[in-house]
């Protein structure tokens, strides 16, 4: 089994190079067809996301195939060869396997443990399957990668806990309120991060959205976008009485919410808890408000602290994931070595030899009075039957053909030569 990975990712290539090399839309199918026409390549999958472009292939000769695929990339994308060489990595054998498994398990992602990559990998595999450009070995590797990724997801906590500020805000909100759907959320001011957090809150169930912006027109626009209600900036304090979650991100140079104001808001809302998120720099909410009962105030640094801690947690979990991958690679390699022709021929012969011995023994037991000559004749006949029967498959297995691995797998399956754990 010769698996080859050729590609580049966010660590080795700038976004300009990644863009140049991307296989988008129709180009993906064209690329797959082009690759399958290259000599010595039995199967190929193209993974093209915004952070990586990689070609996974099952090949006959690794070095020749690597050269061919590189030439193909240069031609297909009409890209400068030196630029490509600088960012391309070529992985073979065990390293290639490990890479594919790590990518699927999101250990190679820019944000460790992010869940999208598995879906992207599945899509890439699906496209290759549809184009019928994969082979038996690559199929097995891709399926394994997907199942390993699922195993990593369930056995480690690599994908748990928010690693972005906006998700951290949602996570905290869920520890204060059980249910977000009956809560009211107010966006005070605007800004990229605040809007992102707002979007996450809404997708996590918040239904009532208020938008207070210094320029009322901008507020109206945002309100339309979030399906919310615009509120005049001067009125935001009044609206605080029935707001549960507030994200504040105004450009004000000073506090827009002071402790005394918050105190009376809390009194008026009968101490129902409030979650305040101050994303503005400089801060817009008096930090001493956090000392008030039932008010939970988080600023950007607090949220960043949550994110950092979670990231550290993910790194710890990633170590467990690497161990799982080690195990799985061992299994894959065991399977791969079974795909060599010699052990298959040996196994086939052993099986036949066992049958011969048993059957001959049975005949001998039945006719204990046979003479030496007859016994020899029976032995000879049995041997020559199995030899003649096994001759063509042995020759076929030894032959260096394109589909040898498929053939080996088929023979192992037909004659039941596989161990108990290789049932597919």
């Amino acid at each position: 089994m010769n698996i080859l990975v050729i590609g580049l990712n966010h660590k080795t290539a700038d976004v300009e190079v990644r863009e140049r090399l991307a296989f988008n839309g129709n180009r993906l199918d064209e690329g797959l067809e082009g690759l399958s026409r290259l000599p010595g390549i039995n199967g190929a999958v193209i993974v093209s996301t915004c952070n990586r472009v990689e070609i996974y292939s099952a090949v006959k000769d690794v070095d020749n195939a690597a050269r061919a695929i590189k030439d193909f990339l240069v031609g297909f994308h009409s890209i400068n060869r030196e630029a490509l060489d600088r960012s391309l990595y070529i992985l073979k054998g065990r390293e290639a396997l490990r890479h594919i498994l790590r990518v699927a398990s999101s250990l190679d992602s820019m944000v460790l443990g992010e869940p999208q990559i598995l879906g992207q990998l599945k899509d890439a595999f699906e496209s290759a399957l549809q184009k019928r450009v994969t082979d038996y070995v690559l199929n097995k590797v891709m399926k394994k990668a997907i199942s390993v990724a699922k195993r990593v997801r369930t056995e480690t906590r690599i994908a748990e806990n928010a690693v972005s500020i906006s998700f951290a805000a949602v996570e905290l909100a869920k520890k204060i309120f059980t249910e977000l759907s009956d809560k009211t959320f107010m966006l005070l001011g605007a800004g990229e991060m605040a809007e992102l957090a707002a979007r996450h809150l809404i997708s996590n169930g918040v239904k009532t959205v208020l938008i207070a912006n210094r320029t009322f027109e901008r507020g109206c626009e945002l309100a339309k976008e979030f399906n919310g209600r615009p509120v005049r900036f001067e009125d935001f304090l009044k609206e605080m009485v029935h707001t549960d979650i507030l994200i504040c991100s105004t450009g004000a140079p000073d506090y827009v919410l002071r402790r005394s104001e918050m105190h009376s808001v809390m009194k008026e809302r009968r101490q129902r808890p409030m979650f305040l998120i101050d994303i503005s720099v400089p801060r817009n909410i008096d930090p001493s408000i956090n000392e008030l009962d039932n008010v939970y105030l988080y600023d950007v640094d607090d949220l960043q602290g949550v994110v950092d801690a979670n990231m550290l947690e993910r790194k710890k979990e990633a170590e467990k994931a690497e161990k799982i991958i080690d195990e799985e690679i061992e299994g894959l390699e065991r399977w791969a070595s079974s795909l060599d022709s010699i052990p298959t021929i040996v196994a086939l012969r052993n099986m036949a030899e066992n049958i011969r011995r048993e059957e001959v023994q049975r005949v001998m037991n039945r006719f204990p009075n046979l003479g030496e000559k007859e016994r020899k004749a029976i032995e000879y006949m049995a041997s020559s039957i199995i030899n003649k029967l096994l001759h063509p498959p042995t020759v076929a297995l030894k032959e260096d053909s394109e589909d040898r691995e498929t053939l080996i797998a088929m023979i192992r399956k037909l004659y039941g030569l596989n161990g108990e754990d290789e049932s597919d």
Partner: protein, 271 residues
Amino acid sequence: MGTLFFELSLTFYFAAAIASIIELFRGSKATSRLILAFAIAGFITHSGSIILRFIQAGHIPITSLHEASSFFSWCIVLIFFFLEYRYRLDLLGPFTMPVVFILMLSSSVLPREIRPLSPVLQSYWLGIHTFLAFLGNAAFAMAFGIGFMYLIQEHNLKKKHLGGLFQRLPSLQILDEINYKLITLGFPLLTLAIITGAIWAESAWGSYWRWDPKEVWSLITWFIYALVLHARLTAGWRGRRAALLSIIGFVSVLFTFFGVNLLLKGLHAFV
């Protein structure tokens, strides 16, 4: 036989308490299931021991401190199961089972002999009055545990300690809600227990109220919980303050239960 069941349940609750401590420090699905399994085993054998003693004594086994703390923890486990079934709160077991074990342990070291029931106690009020009182107190005990969980979680959120326990403790809102519900369950039970107690006292001793220490402390407890409910409804004393008050209330419950018997003497000398 009853003793055997009692010892068995004590052992199961001990195992549940140990599993609780493990769950607190390095929790997993396995440990939380283990806690529940031990609690169920403990509850079954515990019920057996109470029933056997009931048959043996011929009345509800609640007339000595040994019996009373055993019955008290039985009521707590009952409410724990109800909450577990209804809300499936993470970490509820670890905040309940150690308390149950300690109560059972204190029951186990108290004198166990069955004393003849004094004539004044021989009344159907015995069962009604005590059952109401104990179920109410058990609700307060659970409110105490939940309030404790609330305070930890609230502290984590305020101080931004967001690792370990924070991740596994339930949200503030649900804790506050259940704390409130438990007190609204316990309060009417306590009220009824005081009323039935007064009626019983009238028929047994000829007067409704004699300012006996147990009566006084029950009344103090009643006022504390009345304050919890009143302050929540009028002044919006929820969250941290409600949790704190429910803890103070439970201290008063414990004093009414143990302190009065051990330190003060009165008509309730039996229990």
